[in-house]
Protein backbone atom coordinates (compact mmCIF):
# COMPACT_ATOMS: atom_id res chain seq x y z
CA UNK A 1 0.00 0.00 0.00
CA UNK A 2 1.46 3.32 -0.97
CA UNK A 3 -1.08 5.75 0.29
CA UNK A 4 -0.17 9.33 -0.45
CA UNK A 5 -0.07 11.20 2.80
CA UNK A 6 0.27 14.89 2.15
CA UNK A 7 0.15 16.89 5.30
CA UNK A 8 -0.80 20.45 4.42
CA UNK A 9 -0.37 21.58 8.02
CA UNK A 10 3.32 22.17 7.37
CA UNK A 11 2.38 25.41 5.64
CA UNK A 12 1.27 26.85 8.98
CA UNK A 13 4.77 26.38 10.30
CA UNK A 14 6.31 28.15 7.31
CA UNK A 15 3.73 30.95 7.30
CA UNK A 16 5.39 33.22 9.91
CA UNK A 17 8.62 33.26 7.90
CA UNK A 18 6.76 33.96 4.68
CA UNK A 19 4.95 36.90 6.31
CA UNK A 20 8.18 38.22 7.79
CA UNK A 21 10.11 38.00 4.53
CA UNK A 22 7.17 39.53 2.67
CA UNK A 23 7.09 42.55 4.93
CA UNK A 24 10.81 43.18 5.25
CA UNK A 25 11.98 42.26 1.76
CA UNK A 26 9.48 41.40 -0.92
CA UNK A 27 6.93 44.19 -0.41
CA UNK A 28 9.53 47.01 -0.10
CA UNK A 29 11.36 45.64 -3.14
CA UNK A 30 8.12 45.46 -5.12
CA UNK A 31 7.36 49.07 -4.17
CA UNK A 32 10.67 49.99 -5.75
CA UNK A 33 9.84 47.92 -8.82
CA UNK A 34 6.50 49.70 -8.99
CA UNK A 35 8.11 53.17 -8.83
CA UNK A 36 10.72 52.22 -11.40
CA UNK A 37 8.18 51.84 -14.19
CA UNK A 38 6.04 54.92 -13.42
CA UNK A 39 6.17 58.66 -13.70
CA UNK A 40 5.16 60.31 -10.43
CA UNK A 41 3.38 63.61 -10.10
CA UNK A 42 1.95 65.47 -7.13
CA UNK A 43 -1.41 64.41 -5.66
CA UNK A 44 -0.28 60.78 -5.97
CA UNK A 45 -0.72 60.73 -9.72
CA UNK A 46 1.13 57.87 -11.46
CA UNK A 47 1.58 57.12 -15.16
CA UNK A 48 3.02 53.92 -16.53
CA UNK A 49 6.30 54.57 -18.37
CA UNK A 50 7.63 51.06 -19.06
CA UNK A 51 11.40 50.78 -19.32
CA UNK A 52 11.97 54.51 -19.77
CA UNK A 53 13.79 55.12 -16.47
CA UNK A 54 16.00 52.08 -16.94
CA UNK A 55 17.04 53.30 -20.37
CA UNK A 56 17.63 56.78 -19.03
CA UNK A 57 19.77 55.61 -16.10
CA UNK A 58 21.76 53.12 -18.16
CA UNK A 59 22.58 55.69 -20.80
CA UNK A 60 23.39 58.59 -18.47
CA UNK A 61 26.99 59.73 -18.07
CA UNK A 62 26.29 60.54 -14.47
CA UNK A 63 25.47 56.90 -13.70
CA UNK A 64 28.49 55.67 -15.66
CA UNK A 65 30.77 57.96 -13.72
CA UNK A 66 29.47 56.92 -10.30
CA UNK A 67 29.58 53.27 -11.27
CA UNK A 68 33.16 53.62 -12.43
CA UNK A 69 34.12 55.40 -9.21
CA UNK A 70 32.37 52.69 -7.24
CA UNK A 71 34.19 49.88 -9.06
CA UNK A 72 37.49 51.70 -8.69
CA UNK A 73 36.92 52.15 -4.96
CA UNK A 74 35.86 48.56 -4.36
CA UNK A 75 38.72 46.99 -6.31
CA UNK A 76 41.34 49.22 -4.70
CA UNK A 77 40.20 48.40 -1.18
CA UNK A 78 39.90 44.66 -1.98
CA UNK A 79 43.40 44.69 -3.45
CA UNK A 80 44.74 46.28 -0.27
CA UNK A 81 42.63 44.76 2.48
CA UNK A 82 42.73 41.08 1.52
CA UNK A 83 46.52 40.67 1.17
CA UNK A 84 47.15 43.02 4.10
CA UNK A 85 44.66 41.16 6.30
CA UNK A 86 46.25 37.79 5.51
CA UNK A 87 49.73 39.22 6.12
CA UNK A 88 48.71 40.63 9.51
CA UNK A 89 47.02 37.36 10.49
CA UNK A 90 50.20 35.46 9.58
CA UNK A 91 52.31 37.83 11.65
CA UNK A 92 50.13 37.57 14.74
CA UNK A 93 51.35 35.33 17.58
CA UNK A 94 49.52 31.97 17.38
CA UNK A 95 48.68 31.76 21.08
CA UNK A 96 49.21 33.27 24.51
CA UNK A 97 48.58 36.69 26.00
CA UNK A 98 49.77 38.66 22.97
CA UNK A 99 47.47 36.81 20.62
CA UNK A 100 44.46 37.87 22.72
CA UNK A 101 45.82 41.40 22.96
CA UNK A 102 46.21 41.55 19.16
CA UNK A 103 42.71 40.19 18.62
CA UNK A 104 41.16 42.83 20.89
CA UNK A 105 43.14 45.59 19.16
CA UNK A 106 42.12 44.23 15.77
CA UNK A 107 38.44 44.07 16.70
CA UNK A 108 38.34 47.71 17.85
CA UNK A 109 37.77 49.48 14.51
CA UNK A 110 34.93 47.05 13.79
CA UNK A 111 33.11 48.14 16.93
CA UNK A 112 33.01 51.84 16.09
CA UNK A 113 29.75 53.11 14.54
CA UNK A 114 30.20 53.93 10.86
CA UNK A 115 29.29 57.59 11.06
CA UNK A 116 31.72 57.97 13.98
CA UNK A 117 34.44 56.50 11.78
CA UNK A 118 33.60 59.09 9.13
CA UNK A 119 33.61 61.92 11.66
CA UNK A 120 36.89 60.70 13.23
CA UNK A 121 38.68 60.61 9.90
CA UNK A 122 37.17 63.90 8.83
CA UNK A 123 38.64 65.63 11.89
CA UNK A 124 41.85 63.55 11.77
CA UNK A 125 42.50 64.63 8.18
CA UNK A 126 41.55 68.31 8.39
CA UNK A 127 44.54 70.20 7.01
CA UNK A 128 44.51 73.01 9.57
CA UNK A 129 43.68 71.24 12.84
CA UNK A 130 43.65 67.45 12.20
CA UNK A 131 46.57 65.37 13.42
CA UNK A 132 47.11 63.74 10.03
CA UNK A 133 46.35 66.78 7.87
CA UNK A 134 48.37 69.20 9.96
CA UNK A 135 51.34 66.83 10.21
CA UNK A 136 51.40 66.23 6.45
CA UNK A 137 51.22 69.93 5.73
CA UNK A 138 53.92 70.71 8.30
CA UNK A 139 56.12 68.13 6.62
CA UNK A 140 55.69 70.06 3.39
CA UNK A 141 53.04 67.99 1.62
CA UNK A 142 50.25 69.99 0.07
CA UNK A 143 47.37 67.96 1.42
CA UNK A 144 43.76 69.12 1.58
CA UNK A 145 41.14 66.46 1.12
CA UNK A 146 38.31 68.97 0.95
CA UNK A 147 39.79 70.53 -2.18
CA UNK A 148 41.98 67.91 -3.91
CA UNK A 149 40.26 64.86 -5.47
CA UNK A 150 43.38 62.71 -5.12
CA UNK A 151 43.75 63.60 -1.44
CA UNK A 152 40.06 62.85 -0.93
CA UNK A 153 40.47 59.42 -2.52
CA UNK A 154 43.58 58.60 -0.54
CA UNK A 155 41.83 59.59 2.69
CA UNK A 156 38.73 57.63 1.78
CA UNK A 157 40.73 54.48 1.03
CA UNK A 158 42.91 54.87 4.11
CA UNK A 159 39.77 55.15 6.20
CA UNK A 160 38.22 52.03 4.73
CA UNK A 161 41.46 50.06 5.11
CA UNK A 162 41.69 51.18 8.73
CA UNK A 163 38.07 50.29 9.36
CA UNK A 164 37.72 46.96 7.59
CA UNK A 165 41.10 45.20 7.25
CA UNK A 166 40.44 43.81 10.73
CA UNK A 167 37.57 41.76 9.39
CA UNK A 168 39.88 39.99 6.95
CA UNK A 169 42.47 39.60 9.74
CA UNK A 170 39.97 38.00 12.12
CA UNK A 171 38.64 35.62 9.48
CA UNK A 172 42.12 34.64 8.29
CA UNK A 173 43.36 34.23 11.85
CA UNK A 174 40.49 31.86 12.60
CA UNK A 175 41.28 29.95 9.41
CA UNK A 176 44.98 29.71 10.30
CA UNK A 177 44.26 28.49 13.83
CA UNK A 178 42.23 25.64 12.37
CA UNK A 179 45.28 24.16 10.59
CA UNK A 180 46.54 21.15 12.59
CA UNK A 181 50.11 21.34 13.79
CA UNK A 182 50.86 18.08 11.96
CA UNK A 183 50.86 20.01 8.68
CA UNK A 184 53.63 22.34 9.80
CA UNK A 185 55.65 19.47 11.22
CA UNK A 186 55.23 17.45 8.03
CA UNK A 187 56.29 20.48 5.99
CA UNK A 188 59.42 20.90 8.11
CA UNK A 189 60.30 17.27 7.60
CA UNK A 190 59.59 17.55 3.86
CA UNK A 191 62.03 20.46 3.82
CA UNK A 192 59.46 23.01 2.66
CA UNK A 193 60.48 26.69 2.61
CA UNK A 194 58.26 29.17 4.42
CA UNK A 195 56.96 30.32 1.04
CA UNK A 196 56.02 26.72 0.19
CA UNK A 197 54.29 26.39 3.57
CA UNK A 198 52.25 29.48 2.74
CA UNK A 199 51.56 28.47 -0.82
CA UNK A 200 50.71 24.80 -0.27
CA UNK A 201 49.34 24.67 3.28
CA UNK A 202 48.17 28.01 4.58
CA UNK A 203 46.69 29.53 1.44
CA UNK A 204 44.70 26.42 0.41
CA UNK A 205 43.38 26.07 3.96
CA UNK A 206 42.41 29.76 3.96
CA UNK A 207 40.54 29.53 0.69
CA UNK A 208 37.11 29.12 2.25
CA UNK A 209 37.44 31.94 4.75
CA UNK A 210 38.95 34.17 2.09
CA UNK A 211 35.96 33.50 -0.16
CA UNK A 212 33.73 34.72 2.65
CA UNK A 213 36.03 37.67 3.34
CA UNK A 214 36.11 38.78 -0.30
CA UNK A 215 32.34 38.44 -0.67
CA UNK A 216 31.62 40.36 2.52
CA UNK A 217 34.11 43.10 1.72
CA UNK A 218 32.84 43.33 -1.84
CA UNK A 219 29.20 43.67 -0.87
CA UNK A 220 29.86 46.04 2.02
CA UNK A 221 32.20 48.27 0.08
CA UNK A 222 29.87 48.37 -2.91
CA UNK A 223 27.11 49.50 -0.58
CA UNK A 224 29.25 51.95 1.37
CA UNK A 225 27.42 55.17 2.20
CA UNK A 226 27.81 56.49 5.74
CA UNK A 227 31.57 56.94 5.96
CA UNK A 228 32.15 58.77 2.64
CA UNK A 229 29.00 60.80 3.26
CA UNK A 230 30.41 62.06 6.58
CA UNK A 231 34.02 62.33 5.35
CA UNK A 232 33.69 64.03 1.98
CA UNK A 233 29.98 64.21 1.19
CA UNK A 234 30.93 63.00 -2.29
CA UNK A 235 33.24 65.91 -2.99
CA UNK A 236 35.26 67.78 -3.86
CA UNK A 237 32.93 68.27 -6.82
CA UNK A 238 31.68 64.80 -7.63
CA UNK A 239 35.08 63.15 -7.28
CA UNK A 240 34.11 60.77 -4.45
CA UNK A 241 30.42 60.43 -5.30
CA UNK A 242 30.00 56.69 -5.16
CA UNK A 243 26.87 54.91 -6.37
CA UNK A 244 25.03 55.03 -3.05
CA UNK A 245 25.78 58.72 -2.54
CA UNK A 246 24.52 59.46 -6.04
CA UNK A 247 21.41 57.39 -5.50
CA UNK A 248 20.51 59.26 -2.33
CA UNK A 249 21.03 62.58 -4.15
CA UNK A 250 18.61 61.52 -6.88
CA UNK A 251 16.03 59.91 -4.61
CA UNK A 252 15.96 62.37 -1.72
CA UNK A 253 17.76 65.44 -3.05
CA UNK A 254 15.93 65.74 -6.37
CA UNK A 255 13.02 63.48 -5.39
CA UNK A 256 13.11 61.74 -8.78
CA UNK A 257 11.43 58.58 -7.59
CA UNK A 258 11.25 56.79 -10.94
CA UNK A 259 14.92 57.10 -11.97
CA UNK A 260 16.04 56.48 -8.38
CA UNK A 261 13.99 53.29 -8.21
CA UNK A 262 15.34 52.10 -11.56
CA UNK A 263 18.87 52.87 -10.42
CA UNK A 264 18.31 50.98 -7.13
CA UNK A 265 17.33 47.88 -9.07
CA UNK A 266 20.27 48.14 -11.43
CA UNK A 267 22.57 48.69 -8.43
CA UNK A 268 21.12 45.60 -6.74
CA UNK A 269 21.57 43.47 -9.86
CA UNK A 270 25.18 44.61 -10.26
CA UNK A 271 25.99 43.51 -6.69
CA UNK A 272 24.26 40.21 -7.27
CA UNK A 273 26.13 39.66 -10.52
CA UNK A 274 29.57 40.45 -9.09
CA UNK A 275 28.95 38.35 -5.96
CA UNK A 276 28.01 35.45 -8.17
CA UNK A 277 31.12 35.90 -10.30
CA UNK A 278 33.39 36.07 -7.23
CA UNK A 279 31.77 33.05 -5.66
CA UNK A 280 31.95 31.00 -8.83
CA UNK A 281 35.56 31.86 -9.52
CA UNK A 282 36.75 31.31 -5.95
CA UNK A 283 35.00 27.99 -5.40
CA UNK A 284 35.87 26.64 -8.83
CA UNK A 285 37.36 23.16 -8.82
CA UNK A 286 36.26 22.27 -5.31
CA UNK A 287 35.08 18.80 -4.39
CA UNK A 288 31.46 18.02 -4.15
Amino acid sequence: MSARTTNQKAWFLVAPVVVLVAFNAIIPLMTVVNYSVQETFGDNLFFFEGMKWFEEVLSSDRFHDSLLRQLQFTFIILAIEVPLGVAIALAMPPKGFWSSACLVLMAMPLLIPWNVVGAMWNIFALPDIGLLGKTLNTMGFDYNFTRQPVAAWVTLIAMDVWHWTSLVVLLSYAGLSAIPNDYYQAARIDGASSWAVFRYIQLPKLKRVLTIAVLLRFMDSFNIYTEPFVLTGGGPGNSTTLLSLDLVKIALGQFDLGPAAAMSLIYFLIILLFSWIFYTVMTRGEDN
Partner: protein, 359 residues
Protein backbone atom coordinates in the same frame (compact mmCIF):
# COMPACT_ATOMS: atom_id res chain seq x y z
CA UNK B 1 70.16 4.67 7.17
CA UNK B 2 71.52 4.76 10.61
CA UNK B 3 71.98 3.14 13.94
CA UNK B 4 70.37 5.22 16.66
CA UNK B 5 71.62 5.61 20.20
CA UNK B 6 69.53 7.34 22.82
CA UNK B 7 71.58 8.12 25.90
CA UNK B 8 70.09 9.36 29.16
CA UNK B 9 67.20 11.16 27.47
CA UNK B 10 64.88 13.09 29.73
CA UNK B 11 62.22 15.55 28.77
CA UNK B 12 59.95 17.88 30.66
CA UNK B 13 57.43 20.32 29.24
CA UNK B 14 57.83 22.45 32.39
CA UNK B 15 60.45 25.20 32.54
CA UNK B 16 62.09 24.08 35.81
CA UNK B 17 61.47 20.38 36.42
CA UNK B 18 62.54 19.07 39.82
CA UNK B 19 60.99 15.71 40.66
CA UNK B 20 60.49 12.71 38.39
CA UNK B 21 56.81 13.55 38.18
CA UNK B 22 57.65 16.75 36.27
CA UNK B 23 59.18 14.73 33.44
CA UNK B 24 57.08 13.41 30.57
CA UNK B 25 60.01 11.19 29.64
CA UNK B 26 61.87 10.03 32.71
CA UNK B 27 64.94 8.21 31.47
CA UNK B 28 65.51 6.59 28.14
CA UNK B 29 68.60 4.60 27.18
CA UNK B 30 68.14 2.63 23.98
CA UNK B 31 70.16 1.36 21.07
CA UNK B 32 68.45 0.74 17.75
CA UNK B 33 70.25 -1.12 15.00
CA UNK B 34 70.40 0.07 11.43
CA UNK B 35 67.59 -1.34 9.35
CA UNK B 36 65.48 -2.60 12.24
CA UNK B 37 61.74 -2.26 12.63
CA UNK B 38 60.90 -0.96 16.07
CA UNK B 39 57.63 -0.17 17.76
CA UNK B 40 57.06 2.18 20.66
CA UNK B 41 54.10 0.80 22.52
CA UNK B 42 52.25 2.34 25.43
CA UNK B 43 48.93 3.83 26.46
CA UNK B 44 47.95 7.39 25.55
CA UNK B 45 49.99 9.95 27.44
CA UNK B 46 52.87 7.62 28.30
CA UNK B 47 55.46 9.75 26.51
CA UNK B 48 55.86 7.81 23.26
CA UNK B 49 55.00 10.71 20.96
CA UNK B 50 57.33 12.92 23.00
CA UNK B 51 60.13 10.43 22.39
CA UNK B 52 59.31 10.28 18.69
CA UNK B 53 59.33 14.07 18.34
CA UNK B 54 62.68 14.22 20.13
CA UNK B 55 64.18 11.74 17.69
CA UNK B 56 62.75 13.59 14.69
CA UNK B 57 63.99 16.94 16.00
CA UNK B 58 60.60 18.60 16.37
CA UNK B 59 61.29 18.78 20.11
CA UNK B 60 64.58 19.39 21.93
CA UNK B 61 65.12 17.09 24.94
CA UNK B 62 65.75 18.60 28.37
CA UNK B 63 68.70 16.25 28.95
CA UNK B 64 70.59 13.50 27.16
CA UNK B 65 71.97 12.79 23.70
CA UNK B 66 70.75 11.34 20.45
CA UNK B 67 73.35 9.77 18.19
CA UNK B 68 72.78 8.83 14.55
CA UNK B 69 75.63 6.51 13.55
CA UNK B 70 77.60 7.82 16.49
CA UNK B 71 77.11 11.51 15.61
CA UNK B 72 75.32 13.78 18.07
CA UNK B 73 72.24 15.26 16.35
CA UNK B 74 70.60 16.92 19.35
CA UNK B 75 71.03 20.44 17.96
CA UNK B 76 70.17 19.56 14.37
CA UNK B 77 66.90 20.42 12.67
CA UNK B 78 64.57 17.74 11.26
CA UNK B 79 65.87 18.50 7.74
CA UNK B 80 69.48 18.04 8.79
CA UNK B 81 68.69 14.79 10.54
CA UNK B 82 67.36 13.31 7.28
CA UNK B 83 64.35 11.69 8.83
CA UNK B 84 60.86 11.13 7.53
CA UNK B 85 57.72 11.06 9.60
CA UNK B 86 54.16 9.93 8.97
CA UNK B 87 51.60 11.49 11.24
CA UNK B 88 48.46 10.26 12.95
CA UNK B 89 46.20 12.28 10.68
CA UNK B 90 47.06 12.13 6.98
CA UNK B 91 48.89 15.24 5.84
CA UNK B 92 48.46 15.87 2.13
CA UNK B 93 48.97 19.04 0.16
CA UNK B 94 45.40 19.49 -1.07
CA UNK B 95 46.07 21.63 -4.10
CA UNK B 96 48.70 19.29 -5.53
CA UNK B 97 48.22 16.07 -7.42
CA UNK B 98 49.25 12.78 -5.87
CA UNK B 99 52.37 12.87 -8.03
CA UNK B 100 53.37 16.34 -6.85
CA UNK B 101 52.71 15.33 -3.26
CA UNK B 102 55.14 12.45 -3.55
CA UNK B 103 57.67 14.60 -5.38
CA UNK B 104 57.45 17.46 -2.87
CA UNK B 105 60.19 16.33 -0.41
CA UNK B 106 62.54 15.63 -3.31
CA UNK B 107 61.89 18.88 -5.19
CA UNK B 108 62.38 20.86 -1.97
CA UNK B 109 65.86 19.39 -1.80
CA UNK B 110 66.66 20.25 -5.39
CA UNK B 111 66.77 16.69 -6.72
CA UNK B 112 66.91 16.67 -10.56
CA UNK B 113 63.48 16.13 -12.13
CA UNK B 114 64.55 12.92 -13.87
CA UNK B 115 65.48 11.27 -10.59
CA UNK B 116 62.32 12.65 -8.97
CA UNK B 117 60.21 11.02 -11.64
CA UNK B 118 61.88 7.63 -11.29
CA UNK B 119 61.65 7.67 -7.54
CA UNK B 120 58.03 8.87 -7.42
CA UNK B 121 56.99 6.11 -9.81
CA UNK B 122 58.83 3.48 -7.81
CA UNK B 123 57.19 4.58 -4.56
CA UNK B 124 53.76 4.91 -6.18
CA UNK B 125 54.15 1.35 -7.35
CA UNK B 126 55.01 0.12 -3.86
CA UNK B 127 52.13 1.98 -2.22
CA UNK B 128 49.55 1.12 -4.93
CA UNK B 129 49.12 4.76 -5.94
CA UNK B 130 50.14 4.41 -9.59
CA UNK B 131 46.59 4.71 -10.91
CA UNK B 132 45.95 7.89 -8.96
CA UNK B 133 49.14 9.82 -9.70
CA UNK B 134 47.33 12.43 -11.78
CA UNK B 135 44.42 12.89 -9.34
CA UNK B 136 44.15 15.82 -6.96
CA UNK B 137 45.13 14.65 -3.49
CA UNK B 138 42.15 16.38 -1.90
CA UNK B 139 39.65 13.96 -3.39
CA UNK B 140 41.12 10.79 -1.93
CA UNK B 141 39.73 8.68 0.91
CA UNK B 142 41.42 8.59 4.32
CA UNK B 143 43.44 5.50 3.55
CA UNK B 144 44.46 6.89 0.16
CA UNK B 145 45.65 10.07 1.85
CA UNK B 146 47.54 8.11 4.45
CA UNK B 147 49.22 6.16 1.65
CA UNK B 148 50.40 9.48 0.22
CA UNK B 149 51.81 10.46 3.62
CA UNK B 150 53.47 7.08 3.74
CA UNK B 151 54.82 7.49 0.23
CA UNK B 152 56.18 10.94 1.05
CA UNK B 153 57.93 9.39 4.04
CA UNK B 154 59.57 6.73 1.90
CA UNK B 155 60.32 8.68 -1.25
CA UNK B 156 63.73 10.00 -0.17
CA UNK B 157 66.52 7.51 -0.47
CA UNK B 158 68.83 9.22 1.99
CA UNK B 159 66.63 9.05 5.08
CA UNK B 160 68.16 7.79 8.31
CA UNK B 161 64.90 6.65 9.81
CA UNK B 162 61.21 6.67 8.95
CA UNK B 163 58.88 7.27 11.85
CA UNK B 164 55.19 6.51 12.12
CA UNK B 165 53.05 8.23 14.73
CA UNK B 166 49.94 6.05 15.13
CA UNK B 167 49.44 6.13 11.35
CA UNK B 168 46.43 3.83 11.26
CA UNK B 169 44.20 5.75 13.69
CA UNK B 170 41.88 7.12 11.01
CA UNK B 171 41.86 4.03 8.82
CA UNK B 172 38.82 1.75 8.70
CA UNK B 173 39.39 -1.57 10.52
CA UNK B 174 39.21 -3.75 7.42
CA UNK B 175 41.86 -1.61 5.68
CA UNK B 176 44.11 -1.43 8.76
CA UNK B 177 45.21 -4.97 8.29
CA UNK B 178 46.06 -4.35 4.61
CA UNK B 179 48.07 -1.22 5.31
CA UNK B 180 49.86 -2.92 8.18
CA UNK B 181 51.05 -5.76 6.00
CA UNK B 182 51.95 -3.19 3.33
CA UNK B 183 54.17 -1.42 5.85
CA UNK B 184 55.85 -4.64 6.87
CA UNK B 185 56.44 -5.47 3.20
CA UNK B 186 57.82 -1.98 2.52
CA UNK B 187 60.22 -2.34 5.42
CA UNK B 188 61.52 -5.57 3.97
CA UNK B 189 61.93 -4.02 0.51
CA UNK B 190 63.47 -0.72 1.55
CA UNK B 191 65.38 -1.79 4.63
CA UNK B 192 65.40 1.62 6.30
CA UNK B 193 65.24 1.83 10.08
CA UNK B 194 61.60 2.30 10.98
CA UNK B 195 60.02 3.37 14.24
CA UNK B 196 56.34 2.85 14.74
CA UNK B 197 54.45 4.48 17.60
CA UNK B 198 51.17 2.96 18.68
CA UNK B 199 48.97 2.09 21.61
CA UNK B 200 47.67 -0.98 19.81
CA UNK B 201 49.57 -4.12 20.76
CA UNK B 202 48.51 -6.00 17.63
CA UNK B 203 49.99 -3.27 15.41
CA UNK B 204 53.19 -3.16 17.43
CA UNK B 205 53.68 -6.90 17.62
CA UNK B 206 52.95 -7.55 13.95
CA UNK B 207 55.06 -4.69 12.60
CA UNK B 208 58.16 -4.69 14.73
CA UNK B 209 61.13 -6.97 15.25
CA UNK B 210 61.58 -5.29 18.59
CA UNK B 211 58.97 -3.58 20.70
CA UNK B 212 59.76 -0.87 23.24
CA UNK B 213 57.11 -0.66 25.94
CA UNK B 214 56.78 2.74 27.59
CA UNK B 215 54.90 3.33 30.80
CA UNK B 216 54.57 6.73 32.50
CA UNK B 217 57.74 8.02 30.88
CA UNK B 218 59.85 4.94 31.62
CA UNK B 219 61.03 2.38 29.12
CA UNK B 220 59.88 -0.74 30.93
CA UNK B 221 61.05 -3.27 28.38
CA UNK B 222 62.58 -3.60 24.94
CA UNK B 223 62.32 -6.98 23.38
CA UNK B 224 60.99 -9.20 20.65
CA UNK B 225 57.27 -9.98 20.74
CA UNK B 226 58.13 -13.42 22.12
CA UNK B 227 60.23 -11.97 24.93
CA UNK B 228 57.46 -9.55 25.85
CA UNK B 229 55.07 -12.41 25.97
CA UNK B 230 57.15 -14.99 27.79
CA UNK B 231 59.21 -12.82 30.08
CA UNK B 232 57.56 -9.48 30.78
CA UNK B 233 60.16 -7.49 32.68
CA UNK B 234 57.55 -5.32 34.36
CA UNK B 235 54.04 -6.03 35.60
CA UNK B 236 52.85 -3.28 33.25
CA UNK B 237 54.11 -5.25 30.24
CA UNK B 238 52.39 -8.27 31.72
CA UNK B 239 48.94 -6.79 31.80
CA UNK B 240 49.23 -4.32 28.88
CA UNK B 241 50.32 -6.95 26.38
CA UNK B 242 48.20 -10.01 25.99
CA UNK B 243 44.48 -10.43 25.97
CA UNK B 244 43.58 -10.98 28.72
CA UNK B 245 46.68 -9.71 30.53
CA UNK B 246 48.87 -11.45 33.04
CA UNK B 247 47.44 -12.76 36.32
CA UNK B 248 49.11 -10.98 39.22
CA UNK B 249 48.83 -11.80 42.90
CA UNK B 250 50.76 -10.76 46.00
CA UNK B 251 53.23 -13.41 47.17
CA UNK B 252 56.24 -14.07 49.37
CA UNK B 253 59.33 -16.17 48.75
CA UNK B 254 59.87 -19.37 50.69
CA UNK B 255 61.58 -22.76 50.28
CA UNK B 256 63.02 -21.91 46.85
CA UNK B 257 59.59 -21.11 45.46
CA UNK B 258 56.76 -18.65 45.93
CA UNK B 259 53.97 -18.67 48.48
CA UNK B 260 50.56 -17.25 47.75
CA UNK B 261 48.09 -17.20 50.64
CA UNK B 262 49.74 -20.26 52.19
CA UNK B 263 49.99 -22.29 48.95
CA UNK B 264 53.42 -23.23 47.68
CA UNK B 265 54.05 -22.52 44.01
CA UNK B 266 57.02 -24.02 42.25
CA UNK B 267 58.95 -21.66 39.95
CA UNK B 268 61.47 -24.27 38.87
CA UNK B 269 64.60 -22.10 39.33
CA UNK B 270 66.41 -20.10 41.94
CA UNK B 271 66.17 -16.33 41.78
CA UNK B 272 68.13 -13.54 43.44
CA UNK B 273 67.07 -12.03 46.71
CA UNK B 274 64.75 -9.08 46.10
CA UNK B 275 65.22 -5.80 47.93
CA UNK B 276 63.97 -6.02 51.52
CA UNK B 277 60.55 -4.47 52.01
CA UNK B 278 59.70 -4.50 48.30
CA UNK B 279 56.16 -5.40 47.31
CA UNK B 280 56.37 -8.90 45.84
CA UNK B 281 53.99 -10.20 43.21
CA UNK B 282 53.68 -13.42 41.31
CA UNK B 283 52.68 -13.19 37.67
CA UNK B 284 51.59 -15.83 35.22
CA UNK B 285 49.91 -15.40 31.87
CA UNK B 286 46.49 -17.01 31.31
CA UNK B 287 48.11 -19.06 28.51
CA UNK B 288 50.31 -20.80 31.11
CA UNK B 289 47.56 -21.66 33.55
CA UNK B 290 46.25 -25.20 32.99
CA UNK B 291 43.55 -27.32 34.56
CA UNK B 292 44.87 -30.52 36.15
CA UNK B 293 43.57 -33.50 38.11
CA UNK B 294 43.08 -32.59 41.77
CA UNK B 295 45.92 -33.90 43.89
CA UNK B 296 48.54 -33.99 41.11
CA UNK B 297 51.90 -32.28 41.59
CA UNK B 298 51.81 -28.46 41.97
CA UNK B 299 48.05 -28.36 41.69
CA UNK B 300 46.21 -25.52 43.35
CA UNK B 301 42.55 -25.54 44.36
CA UNK B 302 40.37 -23.10 42.44
CA UNK B 303 36.71 -22.40 41.72
CA UNK B 304 35.44 -21.55 38.24
CA UNK B 305 33.59 -18.22 38.38
CA UNK B 306 32.75 -17.53 34.78
CA UNK B 307 33.56 -18.57 31.24
CA UNK B 308 33.63 -16.30 28.20
CA UNK B 309 34.07 -17.60 24.72
CA UNK B 310 36.21 -15.53 22.34
CA UNK B 311 35.95 -17.92 19.39
CA UNK B 312 39.35 -19.53 19.31
CA UNK B 313 39.69 -19.67 23.08
CA UNK B 314 37.61 -19.71 26.19
CA UNK B 315 38.65 -17.39 28.98
CA UNK B 316 37.93 -19.18 32.23
CA UNK B 317 37.90 -16.95 35.27
CA UNK B 318 38.64 -18.80 38.50
CA UNK B 319 39.10 -17.86 42.10
CA UNK B 320 42.22 -19.22 43.77
CA UNK B 321 42.67 -18.42 47.48
CA UNK B 322 40.80 -15.13 47.08
CA UNK B 323 42.71 -14.07 43.93
CA UNK B 324 41.22 -13.80 40.48
CA UNK B 325 43.11 -16.09 38.09
CA UNK B 326 42.21 -16.35 34.43
CA UNK B 327 43.09 -19.31 32.29
CA UNK B 328 42.95 -19.66 28.52
CA UNK B 329 41.45 -22.88 27.26
CA UNK B 330 41.87 -23.58 23.53
CA UNK B 331 38.77 -24.36 21.51
CA UNK B 332 37.71 -27.99 21.71
CA UNK B 333 39.24 -28.61 25.13
CA UNK B 334 36.85 -29.39 28.00
CA UNK B 335 36.02 -26.41 30.19
CA UNK B 336 35.77 -27.39 33.86
CA UNK B 337 33.00 -26.30 36.17
CA UNK B 338 32.78 -25.66 39.92
CA UNK B 339 35.62 -26.84 42.13
CA UNK B 340 38.74 -27.71 40.15
CA UNK B 341 42.52 -27.63 40.27
CA UNK B 342 44.88 -25.37 38.36
CA UNK B 343 48.59 -25.42 37.76
CA UNK B 344 51.04 -22.62 36.82
CA UNK B 345 53.77 -23.52 34.33
CA UNK B 346 56.94 -22.92 36.43
CA UNK B 347 59.04 -21.71 33.45
CA UNK B 348 56.66 -18.86 32.75
CA UNK B 349 55.83 -17.94 36.31
CA UNK B 350 57.60 -14.70 37.21
CA UNK B 351 58.26 -12.93 40.48
CA UNK B 352 58.13 -9.12 40.56
CA UNK B 353 59.45 -6.78 43.23
CA UNK B 354 57.86 -3.31 43.12
CA UNK B 355 56.73 -4.05 39.59
CA UNK B 356 60.13 -5.11 38.21
CA UNK B 357 61.10 -8.72 37.50
CA UNK B 358 63.33 -10.64 39.94
CA UNK B 359 65.72 -12.96 38.13
Amino acid sequence: MARIDLIGLRHSYLPNPTTDADYALKKVDLVWDDGGAYALLGPSGCGKTTLLNIISGLLAPSEGSILFDGVEVKDKSPEERQIAQVFQFPVVYDTMTVYDNLAFPLRNRGVPEKQVDARVRAIADMTDLTDMLKNKAAGLTADGKQKISLGRGLVREDVNVVMFDEPLTVIDPHLKWKLRSKLKELHQRIGTTMIYVTHDQTEALTFANKVVVIHEGWVVQQGTPVELFERPRHTFVGHFIGSPGMNLMPCELANGGARVSGHHIDIGRSISEPKAGAKLELGVRPEFVTFVEPGSANSLPADVVSVSDTGRNSIVETEFAGHKVRALVPEGMPVPEGRTSICFDPTYTQIYADGWIVE
